[in-house]
Amino acid sequence: MKRILPTAIAIAVGIIVLMGYFFEGGTITALRVVLTGWAATLAGLAVLLGIINVLLVNARRLDQRAKGSLYNLLTIAAVAVTLVIGLIEGRLLDGTALYRSSSATNLLFNGVIVASQAALASLVMFALVFAAIRILDRTATRWTYLFVGAVVIGLIGWIPLLGVVNTAYEWLVAVPVTGGVRGILIGVALGTIVIGVRVLTGSERPYTE
């Protein structure tokens, strides 16, 4: 029963939501809207659970005096400060604090979160260049050389007035790259469909044994 009930509920809900996309105007569409509304509510509640998890994980590491526990203390303090400011400003400004440029919530979001994300994203280029260099040390196969060659053409192909290199770059992007990307995306789509069907038929049960 412990195994059958969750599976039956998951299959039934999955079929109703899926059929809601194929059939229009009936009770099934209304049911789909209700069920997806519940999912949205649960997703909102999951964020609260996530915050508790962040606090628990960092408190545990702090308690164990784990490596880098100063950062765990900073994280807990940041969560507490952001939460308190968000709650106070949210109440004072009717939930629009994030969108007002004069609010502390907006300052925290744009000045800390967006800025640190931008800093991290800017490091990606360096990581990719190092990876492209290291790949030749690690596995020097013909595919590696093809990959590095494509990267080099891709990088210098941006420089104008290089004649044949520009032509090679345009051909590379228009033919093999586009074809390859489409092939990979078709594969991903087929994989998603099959795994979705496996969940619908109950042969893949991430929610129970």
Binding site: A43, L120, V197, R198, E204, P206
Partner: protein
């Protein structure tokens, strides 16, 4: 009564996708059943990433380090749910194998909706291994709410949590190179799988083992060898050949001018 049922269901908007879905369901169920009864053996091509997973876990356990699996920024309530389910299948198998270790395996995510299900997957793996008492709730972690910050957090986790095997499976973009770089710097074995093309390109350059395209979605068939999953694998292969045939036929028809613009 019949009219009420028809009104309840509503009008069918497009029968073709529903028919295709019906074929996929029938194929998956029938082929899975045939595999379960040993009537049909589904051929599997070699996928080095899955072959490496077992040895990765073994090495991590022997060296006293942790096994880490990240399911990425994908959720269980939107269009990338399929990727999350595939990542959960890998997490399930990996955790079951890693429960013998003194060090708890860790699972991370950047989506709050995936956190409870990740936590549950870890707990079930421990229960299955008869070690539910060893399960620690903090081994499932929400690191961030987006992919870039998640990989930023993972770069610190590699040395701080003594990670010895790193499996990053989810909707990662090119930022996955940051996490892979941190792993390489500490000499740990890594497997990366992404449903995004940029993530796959970055992974090819920076990880030892990668899962490309649909390879991500066949984890259960390769790691668990479950008969039902074998059916899914065979269905995926049949669909792929169907798409290839459709492309070839379409190309020939278009070349002959027999296909409308």
């Amino acid at each position: 009564m019949l009219e009420q049922i028809i009104n309840g269901v509503g009008a069918l908007s497009d029968p073709i996708p529903l028919a295709v879905l019906g074929v996929v369901v029938v194929l998956t169920v029938v082929l899975g059943e045939l595999a379960r009864r040993d009537i049909l053996t589904i051929p599997q091509r070699r996928l080095s990433a899955y072959e490496a997973v077992t040895s990765q876990i073994g090495r991590a356990v022997e060296s006293g380090g942790r096994v880490h699996t990240s399911t990425g920024p994908n959720s269980i309530v939107n269009e990338d749910t399929g990727t999350t389910v595939a990542a959960l299948a890998i997490l399930d198998v990996v955790t079951t194998d890693a429960t013998i270790s003194d060090q708890q395996p860790i699972a991370t995510t950047a989506d709050a909706t995936a956190l409870p299900i990740i936590s549950d997957t870890l707990y079930r793996a421990y229960t299955r291994s008869g070690a539910s008492g060893k399960y620690d709730t903090t081994s499932a972690r929400l690191i961030a709410f987006d992919s870039t910050t998640l990989v930023g957090g993972l770069t610190v986790m590699v040395p701080d949590d003594d990670l010895q095997a790193n499996l990053l499976v989810g909707s990662f973009g090119s930022e996955v190179a940051l996490a892979a770089e941190a792993g390489q710097r500490h000499g740990i074995s890594q497997t990366i799988g992404s449903d995004r093309v940029e993530g796959q390109a970055a992974a090819y350059a920076s990880a030892e083992h990668i899962l490309i395209g649909e390879e991500l979605f066949v984890s259960r068939a390769y790691l668990d060898e479950a008969p039902a999953a074998q059916g899914g694998l065979a269905t995926q292969d049949i669909l792929r050949w169907g798409v290839i045939a459709a492309i070839l036929v379409g190309s020939v028809l278009a070349s002959l001018g027999l296909l409308g613009q």
